[in-house]
Amino acid sequence: MVNLEDLKKEASAVLKDEKVKYVIGYQKSSNGLMPAPVFINKPEDVEKLIWNPTCIHNLTRFLTDERQRKIKEKHPDERPVGLIVKGCDSRALVVLLQEKLISREDVYIIGVSCENAGVVDEKKLAKKFKDKKIERIEFDEKDNIVVTTKDGKTKMAASEILAERCLECKANFPVIYDVLLGEKTKRQPENPFQSLEKIESLSEKERWDFWKEQLSKCIRCYACRSVCPMCYCDECVVDTINFAVTADTTAEEKAQKIKWLEKSPVLSENFVYHFIRAIHLAGRCIDCAECERVCPLDIPIRFLNKKLEKAAKELFDYDAGFDPDHPSLVASFRDEDPEDFIR
């Protein structure tokens, strides 16, 4: 695990040189164990920074807001934003660069390698420790997790409370960075799509029953969309559900704002929303699992995106978020793409 002091040193160095506008990182939150994102613009504030296995958030999401701010301001600050990224977050950055939403000069990347560890899963923790208040979580030298509660320390293998995505991670170090903290230790998971198997092994009917139950729960709060670093469209296809057609609405407006689905959160409409979100994330989703974390109804949204990640890998040999110069999945093709399903 990377030393927090090194991280503070790097952050205060770039802030002192005024190389960046501010640094986005993690701070202790008022919400107990889990941290909150923090924007630091004075070198003395780097003391707020923390770094531990609970730093789950994907901070690349803030670059979308940053871009909006820049567009609106008359004399924008042209300096880059300092960003603390993990391996998965750096791959999100690569996708944003690939899509030219941001340019490389817009961001100063402080890469932090997860080394052999990763981040914890809140739900697994809650299950394991019930209502005991957790004070600290850290890794020891052998990459075991040590959880401190008021009853004392509990030591366990990292795999017990690491997030599922970390156990399936293909690059546990940043693939793109300006400074890198920690070692580039590559850990190849045995099967990066292991968690999918439990759904894929079900029969057609069981699969439908599973998704029917899950997607019926959705209340369409769109938290998954709000937190996703890839969902940056100014206007989402599902936003047209709020478009009111009146006598004054022109034909052009009606043609532009097609109501693809209804507002009501029922299965058939939820299905359209989740399906279209999954398709729009095909070849772009880097499996940060933020959508699943923020879902108030615990819908396993990650399994939809993961399935397409697997399809992209198996059918088209495409891995999202490794090369910013590579064309994106649906904007490219190969002559040997499979067509055995076509008559």
């Binding site: 699969r207 439908w208 058939s268 299905f271 398709i279 095909a282 399935k307 059918l315 649906v330 002559d335």
Partner: protein
């Protein structure tokens, strides 16, 4: 009195340059094929958004067909290659979610293949009949 047999409703997205002309050929040659298809002409199979397909299922289609030019014959040079990739992803996801794989199909039909078009429709209808109406993705009326 015999119970009425289930007649599936198929929405077919046909590209303007090949498949639509192919279906036209079937028509003007007076070839017989089931009347279960609602053809929708699109400019290219590559212009078929996954939303079109979902929307068709959402509004009660029992089956959806996307048909374009053979690889290499696309009027826009490479539209059907993009379609092939995108449709493969849509198909994977629909099957993953538990929709019967027979309900969503893709085909290459050129402007000269009127017979092939009628064969595809005949087979499609035959495959859909035992499945019954599609209720999984359908919006409640």
């Amino acid at each position: 009195m015999m119970a009425e047999e289930f007649e599936p409703k198929i929405v077919a997205f046909l590209c303007k340059w090949c498949s639509s002309a192919g279906s036209d050929l079937a028509g003007v040659s007076r070839m017989q094929y089931p009347p279960n298809v609602v053809p929708i002409q699109v400019m290219c199979s590559g212009s078929v958004s996954p939303l079109y397909i979902l929307s068709a299922f959402n509004k009660g289609a029992d089956g959806v067909l996307v048909s374009g030019c053979h690889p290499g014959d696309c009027h826009y040079i490479k539209g059907n290659y993009y379609a092939r990739r995108r449709i493969a992803l849509v198909k994977q996801l629909l099957e993953y979610i538990g929709l019967e794989p027979q309900r969503f199909q893709m085909s290459w039909v050129s402007a000269a293949e009127g017979t092939k078009y009628t064969e595809i429709i005949k087979d499609f209808v035959q495959e859909l009949k035992p499945l019954g109406p599609q209720t999984k993705l359908r919006r409640a009326q």
